[in-house]
């Protein structure tokens, strides 16, 4: 117990220590906290969700979109865990923990966003099994609650058990550890699939109501997630002594290309399927792509996102560009933003336009909403920075129990 | 040669003149009769057109629009089956 406490203390105190650029980064992120606090107070305490841009016509919007997108980011940890443990891809040795830290952060952020999406977060306990009513298995939302919390727990166990064993210099209990690793690999696929089911089981929203949705969700997630991991790895490599081989980054950028290609193919087949017969079911997609009846707020967003995705795909196909580590993070960041627009903004919102009664309206996020979203992301990045920093410390052997210092134990 | 052709045409015209006359008369007769019928119809309808049209457009318009919209009207069997379902599956749970 004492060891565990000292591990936690050491882990986080290492995570909070750093050079001046590290503090500058955290300082920049903390600048978002004030408007976030203001927005949160307005929405949670003073006035309710009316401060955001929601309407009865567009009742799911950017909070839900960020939720959907971040579930994908969380699921993407599997793209490093899977090759490392299943294919024994050793170059990913130092990457796995970063991936798991990203997954933990993303799930936490998912939960943060969903609390903002709820009208009555104070009644969250109604959803708790036994003391509340947990309408499982009828409501897909309850499935999502299970898979997301399960994934969080699995990742916490895998990552922190591994790190704790490194910290104390003890060997891993392979059976115990690998069981959780394999479960978490399968689980990662379920979280995004179930989130897709959450939307595509709504028969009344034609844009979501097709069976490609879970596939497309996974494909975009496995492009956006590794893109973020690449950026994180390059930053870590630049700023710490942690060894991250080029092969690891190359593997990840290949994963990005492959899944981005699949995502674009699925997008194409969706567009053709909807637009050629041009039934009323295509209205949502048409609104997103071309605008309808003079309403076209979504058009620049969706085209930006598609062009960024196509452009990144073409660029990343070229090995020379993929291996250029000055261009690669730029492409990765823009791709990440492009997929965020597609899933986090365009998909959720245009799916609600028109309403089931054929009413067209548009969505305008309010400043308070933007404050909250930016603040949530800043909090997420802050958590990720600290967790990743701590993990790097563990991997470097800087975070280590005094008794274990100097010991060498073989680890995964 | 041109004279020959002309005379031939004339000859044909003369040859078939009787039959042509009957034909013309018949067609003319039918035309006149049907014209009269149509005229009668039109004339007899004139005083009422305003009101009839108004009535038609007011009363039947929605019917027409509904047909264009093609909302599916339930068949008698369908309705009976549905009502039967409502009745038989009703259960009161306090």
């Amino acid at each position: 117990m004492k060891n565990k406490v000292s591990f936690i203390v050491d882990f986080f105190s290492y995570g909070l220590k750093g050079g001046s650029s590290y503090y500058a980064w955290l300082g920049i992120l903390s600048l978002f906290i004030l408007p976030w606090a203001y927005g949160s107070y307005q929405q949670m305490v003073a006035k309710g969700m009316i401060v955001a841009g929601f309407t009865d016509q567009i009742s799911w919007a950017v909070y839900e979109g960020n939720f959907v997108f971040l579930v994908g980011v969380a699921a993407a940890a599997v793209t490093v865990v899977f090759p490392y443990y299943v294919y024994n891809y050793k170059t990913l040795k130092n990457v796995v923990l970063i991936g798991e830290m990203l997954a933990i952060t993303a799930v936490l952020l998912v939960m943060l966003f969903i609390i903002y999406h709820m009208g009555r977060p104070d009644r969250l306990w109604h959803l708790a099994p036994i003391i509340g009513i947990f309408s499982w298995p009828n409501s897909i939302l309850t499935w999502d609650v299970i898979v997301l919390n399960g994934y969080l727990v699995l990742n916490l166990i895998c990552a922190f058990y591994n790190m704790y064993k490194r910290y104390t210099g003890q060997p891993l209990n392979e059976k115990f550890y690998m069981t959780f690793v394999y479960i978490s690999i399968v689980w990662a696929l379920t979280i995004h699939t179930v989130t897709a089911f959450l939307m595509n089981t709504m028969a009344t929203r034609p844009m979501w109501f097709h069976s490609l949705m879970p596939l497309k969700f996974l494909a975009t997630a496995f492009a956006a997630g590794p893109a973020l991991i690449i950026v994180a790895l390059l930053t870590i490599r630049k700023n710490t002594k942690l060894e991250i081989p080029d092969e690891a980054i190359n593997l990840l950028s290949q994963i990005v290309v492959w899944f981005l290609g699949i995502a674009l193919f699925l997008l194409l087949s969706e567009v053709v399927t909807e637009l050629y017969p041009s039934t009323e079911h295509s209205f949502q997609l048409k609104y997103a792509l071309f605008g309808m009846f003079g309403l076209s707020k979504m058009v620049p967003w969706s085209w930006t996102s598609y062009l960024v995705m196509i452009g990144s795909f073409v660029l990343l196909l070229i090995p020379r560009v993929r291996k250029n580590y000055t261009f690669l993070p730029i492409i990765c960041i823009s791709l990440f933003i492009g997929i965020w627009i597609d899933k986090g903004y365009a998909l959720v919102i245009s799916g609600m336009i028109p309403s089931p009664l054929g009413e067209f309206s548009e969505y305008t996020p309010t400043w308070i909403e933007i404050f909250i979203i930016a603040g949530n992301w800043a909090i997420g990045l802050m958590i990720f920075t600290i967790l990743a920093k701590g993990a790097v410390g563990v991997m470097l052997g800087d975070v280590i129990h005094p008794s274990a210092a100097g010991k060498e134990v073989a680890h995964h | 040669m041109p004279e020959d052709k002309e005379s031939e045409v004339k000859r044909e015209g003369v040859d078939f003149s009787k039959r042509a006359f009957i034909k013309t008369a018949l067609i003319g007769g039918i035309a006149v009769a049907s014209g009269a019928v149509i005229a009668k119809k039109i004339v007899s309808n004139i005083p009422n057109t305003g009101l009839t049209n108004a009535s038609v457009s007011d009363e039947l318009q929605q019917d027409r629009v509904m047909k264009d919209k093609e909302f599916v009207v339930m068949s008698k069997e369908e309705k009976d089956r549905m009502v039967q379902m409502f009745v038989s599956e009703y259960k009161y749970t306090a």
Binding site: - | L51, D68, K69, E70, V72
Partner: protein
């Protein structure tokens, strides 16, 4: 050194933010109070019509059910129509007898608890004697009876019946005295010479419009308020409460001013995009892959 600087900047930002936050909060509170004042300022309409403008004007009476402080009716502030009935039977009388109809449904169970809003008290033209009204003039002496029922123009009574000059009903085949009783103008009359009260015009209308009358009797045509329970007490609307018998041929219902449109969704400035719609029509529709018949 840098850390100190960053801390200073962050602290400064915190203070500034708190100030902005405070100002914003109070401003928004002030904004909230405005609409409530506006709502209180609107005048209250206390008289409104039920179905047909100009036919039944009803006054709002407060505290019909004192326990709840109900008015008997609530009036629309924008169109002058009744929007809500507190007491559905207020001001009504029993329907009285109704002849049986040979319908396949069982019996005529509804008539027992049927009430209507009487029309007769509203016939107050020259209302010096409560029993007279129309008979004041149409007593056979002051105004002579027409000898036949041949349709002809009359110039009388445009003050009571605005459309008396352009009778649409029957497309010129009938005229005033086919419905109005020549000898007792306070009543209506059917084709067999039976006197019919203005309270019960359906007894006259039903003579020609049999299908509508039967459907009305069944409760699937026309309007009723009160109890939905079969056999429960209901106030029935009679024919003339909805239809203007003089112009029914062109206007089944008299056009009304509609209640205001719903508020536009947040962020929308107008509904112009709706008029851009190429109105679809023959679109198959979600529900509707097949044809109507």
């Amino acid at each position: 050194m840098k850390i100190k600087k960053i801390t200073k900047v962050t602290f400064g930002a915190l203070v500034a933010g708190t100030v902005i936050f405070g100002i914003g909060h109070f401003q928004t509170q002030a904004q909230q109070e405005q609409p409530a004042q506006q709502a209180a300022a609107t005048a209250t309409v206390t008289e409104c019509f039920e179905s047909r403008e100009g036919y039944t004007a009803r006054s709002r009476v407060e505290n019909v059910v004192p326990e709840y402080g109900y008015p008997n009716i609530k009036c629309s502030q924008t169109t002058g129509g009744v929007l809500w009935w507190g007491d559905p039977y207020d001001d009504t009388i029993p329907m009285g007898d109704m002849p049986d109809i040979d319908d396949i449904t069982k019996g005529d169970y509804l008539t027992e608890d049927a009430v209507i809003k009487p029309r007769e008290p509203q016939l107050n033209y020259f209302n010096m004697d409560p029993d007279k009204h129309c008979v004041m003039c149409h007593d056979g002496k002051a105004v002579p009876f027409p000898k036949d029922k041949k349709p002809r123009m009359i110039t009388m009574h445009q003050d009571i019946v605005e459309d008396s000059m352009e009778l649409m009903h029957g497309e010129g085949a009938i005229w005033c005295l086919d419905c109005h009783n020549a000898t007792n103008r306070n009543t209506l009359i059917d084709h067999r010479g039976k006197e019919i009260s203005f309270n019960q015009p359906q007894k006259l209308c039903g003579k020609c419009h049999g299908v509508e009358y039967r459907h009305w009797r069944m409760g699937i045509h026309g309007k009723r308020i009160g109890s939905w329970i079969a056999g429960g007490k209901k106030r029935w609307w009679v024919c003339t409460e909805c239809h203007n018998p003089h112009t029914v041929q062109t206007n089944r219902f008299q056009p009304l001013k509609p209640e205001p449109a719903p508020a536009l969704p947040k962020g929308m400035k107008n509904a112009d995009h709706e008029s851009v719609h190429a109105p679809s029509a023959a679109g198959h529709g979600e529900a509707t892959p097949a044809a109507m018949h």
